[in-house]
Structure formats: C-alpha cells, structure tokens
C-alpha cells in the first residue's frame, strides 16, 4: 500500500498540487488536508506517515512570510505537531513551508522549539523566480539527501534570505552538518547574485533538524520532476531532477 502523506493547506497555499504530483510520481499517496479539517478534528496528523507544508502565501503572508500560519499551528495544533515531530516521521517544508518550520521553531531543532533563524526579504528587495542549482551537503546524513545529485529547480519567493540570530547558530548548523543544500553555479561553485538568488548567509538554501527527519528548503524541487520541466528541455538537458528527493522521502516511510 502506498504510504499516506498529509500536504497541509491554508488559505493562500498554492504549490500543494505541484507537491502532490511529485509525491505521486515518487510512489506515495498524498492527501491535501485543509488546516480547518485538523482544527475540526476531522483529520489527525497521526494518521499520516509524512507531513508536508507546501509553498504559497499562507494568509497572504500579511504579518510576515509564514508567520500567521506558524502562529496558528503552534497555538491551535501545537501538541499534534510536536508529537508528530517527536515520533521521527519525516516533515518537509518548502518555500512558505520552510518559513513556517523556522517560525514555529521546528527548525533548526524541534527540541529547542525557539526561532533562531529566519527567511527574510531578498537582498534584491524583489520577488525572484529563476532556476538555481542546489548542492546537497554530503556530510549531512539525513535520509532525505541519500544519493542526491545536484538539483536544478526554480526559486519563487520574495523572502528567502536565510539569516541567523547570532554567529553561534550558524556554527552549530555547520558543526552538526544540518545544512542540507547550498546555492551553487552550474559547475558546483558558490557565487554572487543571481547564483545565490536572495542573499542567504553561507549560500544556505535548506537545512535539516539534527536528527535529519525534518527538511526545509526555499527552492522548488517539486517543479522539476519531469523532463519537459527543465528549461533546457529543447537543448536535450536532462540532469538535475528533483524527483530523487521525493523518492528519498517515500523510502523513509515505506
């Protein structure tokens, strides 16, 4: 049987169907679950093997990117979320979902449960939709990253600039090998804008929790799972698919 995955939906979530397709292709049985159904106890997180918080503009990002969704999850569903995280089941947050994970304190460490990093306004002060290369950190032992090659996929955000509260936080992330992805150029080298599209410190595009079950990243690997999605489709470019990331997630719950 295909493992059930909850893709959370709040007003303004818009890449839920994109992730659903990626998870289906990877072999899971995704279900888009409106947050109101959790609040009404029609669904429980514990019924699912994986939790995905997708991209979009939850509640319009009106009080800061992902802020209001994080407040609601923490305030109204905190016990369920914490229990899910403690159970060691995988959690994936992409773009707005990454912002939510950071602002609920689930990243960088659910045990600490406080916000020590953020995704703030791009240094260009603009929304950026462009294709980027993601280098997986080979020292990060998370099963999310197992056997991953460099991923080529789009970013689409105005607030993806990864920043930390103090230098010690960054050092801890590095020491614990929690950095999951960094922005690089096509040759794998770091570089200035637009290689790093938003000004993130240490070119960080995504991180995991210390146990490696929770992954958050700004770019959208779910928008590169099929060959024709590659901008070089007409140039016979086929490398950089994000599908393996979702297959890794499904492997964790099979």
């Amino acid at each position: 049987m295909k493992p059930p995955v909850a893709i959370l939906h709040a007003p303004g979530t818009n890449r839920d169907l994109d992730i659903a397709l990626a998870l289906e292709v990877a072999g899971a049985a995704p279900e888009i679950v409106h947050i109101n159904r959790l609040l009404a106890c029609e669904r429980r997180l514990s019924d699912y093997a994986m939790l995905v918080i997708p991209g979009g503009f939850s509640y319009g990002d009106d009080l800061g990117a992902g802020k209001l969704w994080a407040v609601r999850l923490r305030h109204d569903l905190g016990a369920q979320i914490d229990a899910f995280a403690r159970s060691g089941k995988p959690i994936l947050g992409i773009c707005n979902g990454f912002q939510v994970l950071v602002k609920t304190g689930l990243l960088p460490d659910p045990a600490a449960g406080v916000q020590s990093l953020t995704l703030t306004r791009n240094t260009s002060a603009r929304f950026e939709c462009r294709w980027v290369y993601l280098e997986p950190n080979r020292q990060n032992p998370s099963p999310w990253l197992r056997g991953l090659e460099r991923i080529f996929c789009p970013v689409a955000h105005g607030e993806g600039n990864f920043q930390v509260d103090e230098a010690g936080t960054l050092q801890r992330l590095q020491r614990n090998h929690q950095i999951a992805f960094t922005y690089v150029d096509s040759g794998g080298q770091p570089g200035p804008y637009p290689v790093n599209p938003n000004g993130s410190v240490a070119d960080i595009a995504g991180i995991t929790d210390p146990q490696g079950h929770i992954l958050g990243l700004m770019p959208h690997p779910e928008n590169h799972i099929l060959p024709h999605q590659h901008p070089g489709f007409h140039r016979s470019c086929r490398l950089g698919s994000g599908l393996r990331l979702f297959q890794n997630g499904v492997a964790m719950i099979r």
Binding site: P11, L17, L63, A125, F127, H228
Partner: protein
C-alpha cells in the same frame, strides 16, 4: 486606547530595501540622501494594557532574528521626530494586513482588540529638508488616491479619521424624472455620472411615464450600469455611417458604408464564416471556450484595467488581474496561466513634460508590474506571456491588458443563463463596501467628505487570498454539481451579475442580507459596489447546505441574497422597502441603439527613404541601438518578478536558452490536470500576443493584419497547429463620438475581420475599452494611440514537437522563411530615427499555407530553433537567437528571399509579415527544404561557435558584432 506597534529592522537587516529606495529617490532628482530605514507600523485600538499588546505583537508580528519591537500609546511618541515619513491607507481602503491582525488577535484570545490598521514608517538616518520629505512622500511613498502620509509627526490611523456617510438610516431616494425637459435630463445624467445620452434618458423617462411613477436611485443607477458602454458595448453594436476618404492608390474612390454593428459585422461574422467545430463557446459567456483534448476545454479571456491603473497603478493592475481570473472562474474553469500586455509613456520622460495630475510613467510602470506580480503570484497562477510597449501617447493613459487561461472538464460548466426559477441567489467571497463607486456620484451626497475619501471609493485594492479561496470553493462545487449558473461580480457589481443571470427568469433580491465591510452603506451603494473577489451563483435550495459547508471549510463567506423567481422582473428589497422593481425586458433591451458617424482619412507621413540609402550610423551601431530600444530590449527584469513556474506546466518558458537570456515567441503549457497522463503524444496549449500600435498611425487596417499575423506566428513558431488557433480581440481607443476616432476603429475592425478569414482563425472573445482620452490642464484632449491587442491560444498536438528560440549548435543551418520587402513604416528603426514613414508592412493573405508548411516541419522534428521576425526585423531576430543560445551566427543579406533589391538597412530592419528564422541540422536540411518547397525559404547562414554575429552582403563582410556588446545593449535599462 490606540497603540502604535513598530517593528524595526536590526542593524544590517533589510539593506536591500534601503538601496532600492535610494535608487528610486534618485529618479526624483534627489541623490546623496542619508540611508533610510523602513519600519512596519501597526495600530491597534484595544481595551488592554500595553503589556498585553506587546505580547500579542511578539507572538503574531515580530521576527526576532531581524527585527526589534516597540509599542507605544498613540499621542505619547516622539512628537519632534525629524526625517520621518509615515504612510497608512485612507479609510475604507481594503487593508488585508489589518484584517488578518484583528483575526489572529481574537483567535489568540485578545478579545479586547477592536480595530487594527497597518502602515509604514520611513526613517532617514540624517538630515533631510522637509520639502524633500514632502516630495518623496508625494512622489514615491504615498498615493493620495488610497493612502495618507505625515511628515515628521505620527500619523493618525485610518479608523480615527472621521468616516463620511455612516450616520443615519440607509435610505433610498426617488428621482423625479417624468417632468424634466431635455436640458434637465442631460443635467441629471451628468450630475449623477450616469453616462447616458439624451436619447437614452428619454427612453427611461418614457418608460416611467408609462409606469406612472418616478425611478428610485437604485433603479436609475441599475439602468445606467446595465446600459453602460462597459456592459452593452453600445459603440460596437451601434449603426455606423462610415466613410473612407480616397487613398493614394490611383482610382481609389473611397468607401461609404452603413455598418450594422461592428461586433456583428466584423468580429462575430468572422467567427461564423471560419466556422470551426472546436469552438465550444464564443462571445456568449465570461470567456471564450475551445476544445483542448478528448476530455478538457480551454477558456481564455483578456480584459483591460486602464483608468484605475492610471490613478493607482498597483491597485488598478492588481484588481485587473483579479477581475480576469474571475472571468475564468465564471466559466467554471481552473486558471492555469496569466498574460499581461502593458503600454506606458516613456520611462525617461522629463518631469516638465508630465501633464498635471498624472503620475510619472516610471511610477505607473513600477506599480502596475508590482500589482500583476502580487495577484498572480499569490493566486499561484503562472504569468507566462506578455509584452511592454512604450510610447508618449500612453503617458496620461497607460494600458493594462490582463489575460487568463483556464481549463475545465468538458460539459462541467453551468453557464450564466442557466439559472432556474427557485434557485437561490448566492453571493460568495469578499464583503461589500464603497469600493469602485463613482467618485462624483459619491460627492453628490450631502455629507462631510474629503477628496481622498471620494477617490478611495473609485479605486479598489485586491485581496488575492480571498479570491484563491473562492476558486477552491468553485472548483469543488462544480465537480459536485452544486450550482446551476455562475458569474462574477465585475463592473456594476451585484446589479450587473444578478440582473444578467436573472434576465430570462426574474430575480428577487434582499439587499440587507449582503455582508458589508462597514455599516452605513445606502441600498444603491450595496447594489452597485464593485468590491472585489465576489461571485454570484444560482444554487438549488437542496444543495445550499452542502455548498454552505464547503464555503465554511475554506473560510469563504457565503450568503443567500434572494432567489430567481420566474417573475421576469428584477425586484430589489431593502428591509421592508422595495427599492427597485424593473421589467427585465426593458432593463436588457430598452436601450436605444446609437447611430454614429465615422470617417477614416489616411494621415500621410513622408517615407524617409534617405534612412535606407544612407543610414545615420554604422550598421553594427544601428543593430546595437535597435537592441537597446525601449520596445525591444530584454524583459528579463520583469519576467523574474512573475512566478512563471508554479503549477509545473510551463514547457516553453518566457525566457529561452542555456542561460535564459533571450525571449521565446510564446508560452507552452501542460495544464495541471493533464500532467498525470503518460504516453505520447501529450497535447499542450500555446499562448501569445500580437501588438503594434505604431503601424496604426499609418493604417489601422494594416495594424490589425500585423497583430493577427504576429500572434499566429508566435504560437506556430513554438509548435501550435495553425488550424487550431483561436483569437481574442481587445480594442483600446479614444472617444467614439468623435468621427475620426471611430473611423480608425472601424478600419481596424475591418482588418481584424479580413485577417481572421485569411488565417481561418476564429475570434472567441473580445473586449473594447473606449474613451481613453485625457483632458489636460491646457484644455486639449490627449487621446491614446488606437491600440489593438490580438491574443492567441493554440493547441500544440505533441509536447515533444515544440521549438524554442535559442540557437542550439554550431554548424547548423539558418533558414529565412518568408519574403522581405522594404516595409519599414512604423518600424523600430524608423522610430529610432524619429520617423514614422508610410511603408507599413502589408497584409499577406497567403500566410496560412506557410504556417501549415512550417508546422509540418516542426512536427517532423526538423526544426531545432525557431523565432519569428517582428519588432526590429531580421537584425533583432538573429541577435535574440544568438543571445539566448550563447552562440554566434553568420548571415548573408544577399540571400534573403525578397521580391526586390534591398538596401542593407531594409534587409536588417524591415518588419514585413509572415517571416521566421529557423535553425536546422545539416542532416535534416534536405527534408526541411522539401517540406518548405512551396514557400519562399532560403538558407541564409550558419550557426557559429565563436561569439560573434557576422553579417555579410553577397559574401562581403558588412560587420561583425561580439555577443558581449549585444548583451550589453539588449540588457541595458
């Protein structure tokens, strides 16, 4: 108690925004200002101690990593601040941030919070003269139409500004009309801004004389709305006496015609004559619908939102996008792509040339692009195709065309006129406020108002998240079969939506049921409000509980406004009072037909032949200048601000090539519901536009052909089947009551008709926006260039057989398909030299066989890259292909298929129709040439590995340009 909450960036955070602002200040002529810091400002009115407010702010607002928090009681802050500008919205303007803040405060248990507002504080880190602060506030930070600002003092939140018109009981007024004479009828129309002419006012008067009573304000406003140009297209349905003055051609006697409606005679007639079986619905619903594959249909609509965008660029464009998306929802379709075509005045217009009361084109452009970005990105709809055109004629009157493509399962739509007696009238989505009521009508109320309040009602601010949730509800309700008819609330609000839906059955409405944003609205204001994000559905009573639950599940407000009742009347009640009771037949068919005069007399611009014989510059220099031309240069800066990847279906993307630095001709999309299909061939949709107002200065007929040709070229170049392309027409013109304006419009519509027949491409939807004129301080009328936009949606039969515009491999051959003539009238090259000229590109009636031949070659897999020749001609086409592919090319101008001897400048820059530049592998050349043998198609060059564009003339080198120079010109701003 009113609290001010300030979230201030920590040192070093948010420098990007500061730098962007510094750049913007420089455009006002203010450089070397000290750095500026932007704080988020919130107001809360609450019966709570400051400590509670601080803890609420920490929980719900603060990002502790990059911000610090300050909470102060209003009136106790730093009164003597210097270098500070504060901005908030005006009362009554949608403030979704405030709405969300209020909601989260309550859900966190802070019930004592009663009102909220949001704003910004700009703090300069050093001395700035107050006059400069005023200039910055006015010129950049606050738009007086929707915002207020304060310099060097704390601003009042909008909820403390006294609101007009909210006192007393809402009431309805009777307008005595039966005894008025013609002069008084005219005055009544003008005072209430009814925009009805004398003939129409007399028709209304006669009807009420016959009824033996006078109209209510609700009825009069309803009639004015329903009979408005926007709703019934009086000009396009009018009887027109049309004359064409003799042209230059010997023996031309001119033309005199009586036209029985432009829409019927030229646009619909073309659709009927072309008679394509795959057209599912044309001109009858909110959008045109064509067949996509065996299971799905595509819906396409393009709207304009010009006047609102001139006043409030962000809000105008924002709600323009929101409006056209609702048109697609109004045919029960899921939106899958947005397009946008924008016409602005010159970005470098000197301030002294700006007409009084007009925003600078730079500011309009920035606001409009931001507005499109905001709505499309938040809705999760990829913005994939468009164009930007600059001309001084758009300075006071920018054009904002917003398009939306949707997909729906065949047979799932319940159209507008399907409502049945007994169905409930259900409104969903946003609440109703004074948004979008006519400013002058508002001012006729006896009350204490400010200018800002008047204007704030004329402009709307969108809330895309509300519309997103409305979409989720509609698509689910469609699949569950819960409604029998659906339409959107656009112009005229409830009055148009319900009046139109109930046209053949009759409707009874209880206006006091409508959820309002704030109290005090009069019945006619509720009825006419153009508040955003609202839809009307006809729901059978037994489906109402399920529908209501669906809305609750998605946080969407829904209410029953009444029912369709079989009375064939439109009856509107407010409490115990009947405020309108109109006969549906009179409402919809009582408008007298207009009779208009139209004259087209050609304007003769001299042909600057010397520009071809002895160009003003080296050809290589001219190529660079053409590449840097405002209407040619790269749009990458804009494209990257639009999410063009969401929904994962964008196969041919806005930008082409290895580094995505050149444009593609059209977007190709796989609709999301079809992405699960496996196996070949997978069908896709292609979207493109054609626009060239410069040709219209010479001949609107030729312009129409050129626009149709360009739209067709674009979709066929990427792989669409030329026999499966549908068109949309959008006319933006001046005042049709002036015979010269109407004359050029008629001539353009004739061109649309003739071109559609030649290309066998049906029109499926269209819209006209007339009266785009601006009365300057000088008393002179500023009319826009008559502007036709043709949008095309084409079916791509096989995703694997699509082409992008970037060069792929050195050694490949380059073919030019189509003949080049010396046709530079209205060209970019002439424009660069300050000329218009006369030799406008001529219609090319045999284009369809050419498009079919090219399509066969693409289907056979023989085309590696393809790009159409349009603005800037061959020079721009070959340059863009090189830049996109990061490869060089060599072409010989002597090899061009041409009917005549062409000077180099003509070969490079002519804009003749029907031409493509095509890259073919040497191994495929034979088969390619055979397939194109019936066409003028010649190999004119080769793709080079070295980074140069080399242009020869009969084998002799004419010039050689390094790619890096071309990038610099093309990507300059």
């Amino acid at each position: 108690m009113v609290y001010r909450i300030l979230l201030m960036p920590k040192a070093g955070a948010d420098e990007g925004r500061s730098i962007a602002l510094q750049r913007a200040f420089a455009t006002l002529g203010l450089s070397h200002l000290p750095p500026v810091v932007v704080d988020d400002l919130y107001f809360l009115e609450a019966d709570l101690p400051a400590g509670d407010i601080a803890s609420l702010a920490r929980t719900a607002l603060l990002d502790p990593v990059v911000q610090t928090l300050a909470v102060e009681e209003a009136g106790t802050g730093d009164e003597a601040a210097t270098g500070v500008i504060e901005v908030t919205y005006l009362p009554g303007v949608t403030d979704s941030v405030a709405e969300n803040l209020l909601a989260v405060a309550h859900s966190l248990g802070y019930q004592g919070v009663r009102q909220a507002a949001s704003g910004r504080r700009f703090r300069f880190q050093g001395e700035v003269a107050e006059s400069h602060l005023q200039a910055i506030a006015r010129g950049l930070l606050a738009n007086s139409t929707v915002q207020q600002y304060a310099v060097n003092r704390p601003i009042d939140p909008p909820f403390l500004v006294p609101q007009a018109g909210n006192g007393g009981r809402p009431r309805v007024a009777i307008i005595p009309i039966r005894e008025l004479d013609d002069r008084q009828l005219h005055a009544l129309s003008r005072e209430r801004r009814l925009s009805l002419d004398l003939q129409e006012m007399q028709a209304i008067q006669n009807w009420y004389r016959h009824e033996g009573r006078d109209p209510t304000d609700v009825e009069l406003e309803t009639l004015a709305q329903t009979w408005s140009e926007h709703c019934v297209h009086k000009t396009f349905r009018a009887l027109i006496d049309y004359r064409e003055e003799p042209g230059d051609v010997a023996g031309d006697q001119g033309v005199a015609l009586e036209i029985d409606g432009l829409l019927k005679t030229f646009i619909r007639a073309a659709t009927e004559k072309v008679d394509k079986a795959w057209v599912q619905s044309a001109f009858v619903d909110n959008a045109g619908i064509i067949r996509f594959d065996d299971s799905y249909d595509l819906a396409f609509k393009v709207e304009t939102h010009n006047h609102p965008s001139a006043l409030e660029p962000f809000g105008g464009a924002n709600t323009g996008v929101g409006g056209v998306i609702r048109d697609i929802l109004g045919v029960s379709a899921r939106p899958i792509a947005n397009t946008d075509v924008l016409c602005f005045g010159p970005e470098n217009l000197p301030e002294e040339k700006l007409p009084a009361g007009v925003l600078h084109p730079r500011r309009i452009a920035e606001g409009v692009i931001h507005g499109i970005e905001d709505y499309g990105n938040k809705m999760g709809i990829p913005t994939v195709n468009g164009a930007v055109h600059y001309h001084p004629g758009y300075t006071a009157n920018p054009l904002v065309y917003c398009g939306c493509l949707g997909i729906l399962p065949r047979g799932s739509h319940r159209p507008l006129h399907n409502a049945r007696a007994g169905d409930l009238i259900v409104a969903i989505g946003g609440r109703t406020g004074r948004d979008g009521l006519r400013g002058a009508t508002f001012s006729s109320m006896e009350m204490d108002h400010t200018t800002g309040e008047i204007a704030s009602t004329a402009v709307q601010i969108g809330n895309p998240i509300v519309e997103k949730q409305v979409m989720e509800v509609i698509l689910r309700a469609r699949d569950a079969g819960l409604y029998t008819a659906i339409t959107d609330c656009g112009a005229g609000g409830f009055s148009s939506a319900i009046g139109e839906m109930g046209r053949h059955v009759g409707a009874r409405v209880r206006l006091d049921q409508a959820p309002l944003k704030y109290p005090g609205l009069r019945p006619w204001e509720i009825w006419l409000s153009e508040a955003q994000e609202r839809m009307i559905l006809a729901i059978p009573p037994h489906h109402w509980p399920a529908f209501r639950q669906l809305c609750r599940d998605h946080d969407v407000e829904a209410c029953v406004l009444g029912e369709f009742d079989g009375s064939h009347r439109l009856r509107v009640d407010y409490g115990d009072t009947t405020v309108a009771d109109l006969d549906m037949t009179f409402l919809h068919e009582g408008v007298p037909r207009r009779r208009l005069d139209a004259v087209w007399s050609p304007t003769r611009h001299p042909e600057p032949e010397h520009l071809l014989v002895s160009p003003p510059d080296d050809p290589s220099e001219l190529v660079l200048r053409v590449l840097a031309h405002a209407n040619v240069r790269s749009r990458a800066d804009i494209v990257h601000r639009y999410d063009h990847e969401v929904q994962g279906g964008t196969v041919v993307k806005p930008l082409a090539g290895a580094a995505q630095r050149g444009p593609n001709d059209a977007a190709v999309l796989i609709p999301q519901p079809c992405q699960r299909q496996s196996g070949r061939p997978q069908a896709a949709a292609a979207l493109a536009v054609g626009i060239n107002p410069r040709y219209g200065f010479i001949d609107p007929y030729a312009m129409a052909w050129a626009c149709v040709d360009e739209a067709l070229r674009n979709v066929v170049a990427v792989g669409a089947d030329p026999d499966r392309v549908a068109l949309l027409d959008n006319f933006c013109w001046g005042n049709p009551a002036l015979p010269d304006r109407l004359g050029s419009l008629v001539r353009c519509a004739r061109g649309c008709h003739d071109a559609a027949l030649a290309y066998e491409a049906p029109f499926i939807s269209g819209k006209d926006s007339l009266n785009n004129e601006y009365l300057g301080e000088d008393g002179a009328k500023h009319a826009i260039p008559g502007t036709l936009l043709i949008s095309a949606v084409g079916i791509v039969p096989d995703l694997e057989c699509t082409a992008s515009a970037d060069l792929k491999q050195a050694g490949d051959y380059l073919y030019l398909l189509g003949e080049t003539h010396a046709e530079l009238g209205g060209s970019v090259y002439y424009d660069l030299c300050g000329e218009i000229g006369a030799s406008v590109p001529r219609p090319y009636p045999q284009a369809l066989p050419r498009l079919r031949a090219l399509h066969r070659a693409i289907r056979a897999g023989l085309v590696r890259a393809c790009h159409d020749l349009s603005d800037g001609g061959l020079a721009v086409a070959v340059a863009e292909m090189c830049l996109a592919g990061e490869l060089g090319a060599e072409i010989d101008l002597d090899l061009l298929p041409a009917g005549e001897e062409l000077p180099a400048a003509a070969a490079l820059f002519s804009e003749s129709l029907g031409r493509f530049l095509i890259e073919v592998r040497p191994q495929a050349a034979g088969r390619f040439e055979t397939l194109l043998s019936s066409q003028p198609c010649r190999r004119i060059g080769t793709v080079l590995a070295e980074s140069h564009l080399r242009v020869l003339d009969a084998g002799r080198p004419l010039f050689s340009l390094p790619l890096c120079d071309m990038y610099r010109a093309y990507e300059s701003s």
